[in-house]
Amino acid sequence: MAQPAILFDGVSKKFNRAQRFNSIRDLVPAMASGLFGRRKAEDELHGKEFWALHDVSFEVRPGEALGIIGPNGAGKSTALKILTRILRPDQGVAAVHGRVGALVEIAAGFHPDLTGRENVFMQGAIMGMKRAEILTKFDAIVDFAGVGEFIDTPVKRFSSGMNARLGFAVAAHLDPEVLLIDEVLSVGDLSFQEKCYERMQAFVRSGIAVAFVSHNLSAISSLCSRVLVLRRGRVEILAPTHEAITAYARLAQEGRVAELGGHEVTLVATDSIGAVVTEIDAGSAVTVRITAHPPAAEFYQAELNVRHLESGALIYRGQSGPAGAAPLALHGSRGLEIDWSFKANFGRGHYGVSCAILDERQRWVAVSAPILLTVNERQSEQALVFLQGTCEMRPLQTPSHASA
């Protein structure tokens, strides 16, 4: 087994909600103890401190890409900052072996008054490239960024997209052994994002170790073989990508339940023979049974939403009514039961299925927490939507043949 290129062993980091030094009175003893005293490695919290990371361990070997995901404030960026040596852990060991390239704030060194050319050299130097190295790669960088004739224009006249593209282009020409990436795919237009993404895949394939922080689950699942899920500074799960994303999706759903204030509406998915399922094959029949106890109203309508969790895209929204069940009047009944059947013509992935109950004025009166539905794909069709169309193939008659 190869030596791990990135090692995180029992790392903890605490932050203080309050200002660290408010007066010179605090600063002087702190500086004195920093100089002469031993560094404090306390494992307790004081005052307004909290753990940004607590006892986090993982390792990444060369040729492996680890995804780091989690809700906001989970400690993802803190972990990356510890790896880039910007922050120092309070406990544990964080080590990176080899030349580090960090795709974090890729245009941080840009000065608005300097030209693109001058900023390429500046940013390159910040990322640890030598001047000679930048010189040889300069044309490739400009070409990759696609800023062409604007390279001698001050970057303050650049669009924000051009700025980000130039920044990424510099970073893309690093020659790292360990690559740390923090959510940089969200820059530039669609075609540039694809280019960035391809470059990152090339980095992974070239056998370097990659740690990739992102909210983009589809990017994570195609780049990374393992995923670390963080929540409130702790490791929730560290597992192969599919398993970890499933756990993360469940985590996100639980968060939504709390947000919406409980289970006013419950959902259960069943397959064609009525068995409760959380995982189904693509294209198979599903029935979602909705049980609700909404407050009194003239009549009710149900709304079903299906969200693709990897991309966050809402792929289906339908209301009962003309297309489905008719609005139902509920006179004195205890509740409401709805069976919503459909064919899961979705691609492989994780889906959040949720339901809302609307009253006669189209207001939401009850909302369910989403349930997780994992779709397994065992067909020739791929990607997000199953057309279930037919395909016929025949040789084309050549015109010369027809005229003869």
């Binding site: 500086m31 100089l35 900052k81 910007i86 941080a108 130097a125 640890g128």
Partner: protein, 267 residues
């Protein structure tokens, strides 16, 4: 003590590794200044020149200084040129970490680069301003001699001392933003406690003794001795200043290095 030695090796090897960044950062600041202001490097000449005129009026028209041995204008300009290198380096350095907060919190490299590049930028300014000194010396027909070779030694002592102070004030200002206001006041007082526009050694008594501890006086007096008078600098006070400068740099740098990991949390 052993850990300080290890820290210093680490500090120096890091500086060497990132030497190109120091160069780029200095180049960036010079380019920006040149592009942003109409006068560009003209400011490097303008500042000591205006001060020279002001103090020339005071010390030749109002309260006359005698027995200087050299025309007051050249005396004052020389003092102001090198003092300005010291003071503007520090004015620039005190803000250097806090004004680059994005880089400090997001990207890793040795943070010493910021105050160090501030000094290098002002060193370039100082060389630009020196052209006026050459002009003045030609105008007043001041001969130069072999002691001129001592200038690099004085410059090194000054840069070492400046770097030590720069690291301390840049770091302090990151933790406490009012440091730059306090420090501005300190610089004003410090200038009059140094032989910049008048010979400070004419102050007698307890205050005079206290002022002997100021390492900037033997440095500035040293420049005048070797450039204007063709004499060797007063070696005793200069050696003391050099020792103090070195201690300042080592202490400042080690403290800076050890506090460095807290910068991102406080920027």
């Amino acid at each position: 003590m052993a850990t300080i030695g290890r820290d210093m090796r680490e500090m120096l090897s890091e500086q060497w590794e990132y030497r190109e960044l120091l160069y780029q950062m200095t180049l960036r600041d010079l380019l920006v200044r040149y592009k942003q202001s109409v006068m560009g490097f003209g400011w490097a000449i303008f500042m000591p020149l205006v001060n020279t005129v002001v103090f020339s009026v005071i010390f030749t028209q109002v309260a006359t200084l005698d027995e200087l041995g050299i025309p007051y204008v050249v005396y004052a300009y020389t003092g102001l040129l090198f003092w300005n290198f010291f003071a503007s380096s520090l004015r620039f350095a005190v803000n250097s970490l806090s004004s680059n907060a994005v880089l400090v919190t997001k990207v890793y490299f040795p943070r010493e680069i910021f105050p160090f590049s501030a000094i290098l930028v002002c060193l370039v300014d100082m060389f630009v301003g020196a052209s006026i000194l050459v002009g003045l010396m030609i105008y007043y027909r001041i001969p130069v001699g072999l002691p001129l070779l001592f200038v690099p030694v004085l410059l090194i002592v000054q840069v070492v001392f400046t770097a030590g102070i720069a690291l301390i004030v840049a770091m302090a200002n990151l933790f406490l933003r009012d440091v730059k206001y306090i420090f501005e006041m300190v610089l004003t007082v410090w200038m009059f406690a140094t032989s910049v526009v008048y010979p400070v050694d004419r102050i007698a008594g307890a205050l005079g003794k206290l002022l002997r501890l100021n390492p900037m006086s033997p440095i500035i007096d040293g420049y005048r001795a070797v450039i204007l008078r063709g004499e060797m600098p007063a070696l005793g006070p200069l050696a003391l200043a050099a020792g103090l400068a070195l201690v300042t740099l080592v202490v400042g740098w080690v403290v800076f290095h050890r506090a460095e990991y807290q910068f991102a949390e406080n920027a």
